[in-house]
Structure formats: C-alpha cells, structure tokens
Symmetry: C2
Subunit: 100 residues, 2 copies
C-alpha cells in the first residue's frame, strides 16, 4: 500500500466551489482499481490549502491506472478552475514499527 | 478530530537510526490523551523525508496536552539528532462530503 498526498491551493473565495467540485470528482478516483480511499482536509494554519490523501495498492494504480484513464482529464477539468497554482503531489510508503 | 502532519528531513545515512528512534519515541505521543494514532511513512520521490501523521481529538491535545508535557522534550531528544533541518508541522481539519 502507498499513500498519495496532493496539496491543492485554492483561489481566494473559491473554497466552497472547490469543495463542491471535489465532492463530485472524488468518485472518479474511488472507482479506480487499487484505490483504497480518499480523504479531503483543509489547512488550519493555511485555510487556502487542501490536503487530499489517497491510498493505493501500488504506485502504478495511481500513475497508470488513474492518470492514463479517461477519468483523469475529467478530474482536472472539475478541479483546476479553482487552483491558484498547480497541485503538489508526492507518494509515501509505510514504515513498519519493529515488533516489540 | 484533527490531523497533524510533520515532515522530517533526515541526514544522509541516518535513516535507519531515525526509524529506530521513532519506533521508541512514538509511544510518547500515543499515550497522550486525545491521540488517536500515529503513522510513519517515507517519501518515494524524496526518500530522505519522512511524513509522520498524527490524529488528535483536538488541536489543544497536541499543542498543550503533548507539547507542554514532559514527554515532548524526550521526543525531541530522541529524534532531533537525526534531522537535517527542523521539522515542518501543520494541522488539518476534515472536509465532509455532502450527503448524496
């Protein structure tokens, strides 16, 4: 399992529009094979920034399975009008705690 | 519920030491009232960076309950020798999806 983090900075005054758009767009991700779930959070220190966290079975499920699907252009079409800058996306692997 | 994100950049070659240190230090957080859980992940694009995510009942559980406890200096003592720069910490609130 890997985690995708996407930081989305939103234009001032468009926060409600962005929240409505991602409430629709999230299904485009969630139906993708290998997607385990998506959460949307808003910054306390930076309320203009949203942190979208998506769990995937593999990196390829995101980079190939979603980004090369016809759902990706639709995702961008729904969300990009609200961005103040391009999203910042990274991926993370779990670090297991040693057994005690 | 709120989420704390802490990005920890580690000195080259000290990754295993950091992972061993946080495997011990995490209990200092986990025993704090209001802590719902802590996860440690490592960057795929930036393997020198770890993302530590901690869920708290409230912001005060972190900023007062943990940071003003005697456990916080011990946490820093265990982890800070491995940092290449000070950690970057932010907090996030969930954005609910509208009911369909």
């Amino acid at each position: 399992m890997i985690t995708e983090t996407a930081y989305m900075s939103i234009q001032p005054g468009r926060e409600a529009d962005f929240e409505a758009a991602i409430a629709v767009a999230r299904e485009l991700v969630e139906v993708t094979p290998g997607c385990r779930g998506l959460t949307v959070q808003r910054g306390i220190e930076r309320p203009e920034v949203y942190l979208v966290t998506i769990e995937w079975d593999t990196l390829e499920d995101h980079l190939v399975g979603f980004r090369e699907s016809p759902r990706f252009p639709r995702w961008r079409e729904l969300l990009s009008p609200h961005y103040s800058e391009p999203p910042s996306v990274e991926h993370w692997t779990p670090v297991d705690s040693p057994a005690e």
